[in-house]
Subunit: 112 residues, 2 copies
DNA sequence: ATCATGTTTCAAGAGTAGTTGAATCATTGA
DNA sequence: TCAATGATTCAACTACTCTTGAAACATGAT
């Protein structure tokens, strides 16, 4: 009953489950397709460069961001599809087994 | 630049970042307002009762589920608002800083 | 070439999370 | 009251994650 997709999604969630990594992903999500360089990401974050690099690697391994060298800099971008897949896996089947809707914000938004 | 809300959301994500807990939450989300008892949750999961209890406690502490004794059983329910707040915190500001939209599935769905 | 900047890699240590088995608590029915 | 079922608590151990400091690599400018 624990599906392989749960195992995978759990790993992806673990990658998000750190203040620095979450802040990074959120900023990349806000930034949209252009993304941001490692330096831009680290600048307001009060984290040493090696620590930031560690976290960026985690996010990359989890498939949540991509990286690409641009001359001296390395540019990171959010992988939007992966993020939206994750969200969908989490709440996509909201109250589908229930007669009662779960509320006005329900992602399934099947209102009478 | 790491906001307190990031710290909190990271903890909530950590609570979701385990296959058993994710499977539990997903089933509670599907189940809707009626929820499920601990026994119902554990039955298809191949986890010992004490381990399940440990995970349910984690989810409760994280504010993702509520529990309520009903006679012999204990019934768990998803806290939908918390979950949706979390999702919103993650992707709610999608590509707001960018000229280019991030894609057709963008939560902000501002299409020309 | 050399140096400065941006970024990653490596090794070591501290702290935290997850599993297990045994014991305990709560409720129901005989 | 006693036994059975549902669920939680406790203690101990293993494994993993995160941080740190030092070193290394890549690029661009002098």
């Amino acid at each position: 009953m624990i599906e392989p997709t749960d195992e995978l999604a759990a790993k992806t969630l673990a990658a998000l489950a750190h203040p620095v990594r979450l802040a990074v992903v959120r900023r990349l999500v806000e930034a949209g397709p252009p993304g941001l360089t490692a330096g831009q990401l680290g600048e307001p974050l009060d984290v040493s460069p090696n620590t930031l690099s560690f976290h960026l690697q985690k996010l990359t391994q989890a498939g949540l961001v991509t990286s690409r060298r641009e001359g001296q800099y390395i540019r990171y971008r959010a992988r939007f599809d992966e993020l939206l897949d994750l969200v969908d896996h989490l709440v996509g089947a909201c109250c589908s087994e229930s007669r009662d809707a779960c509320g006005p914000r329900c992602p399934a938004s099947r209102r009478p």
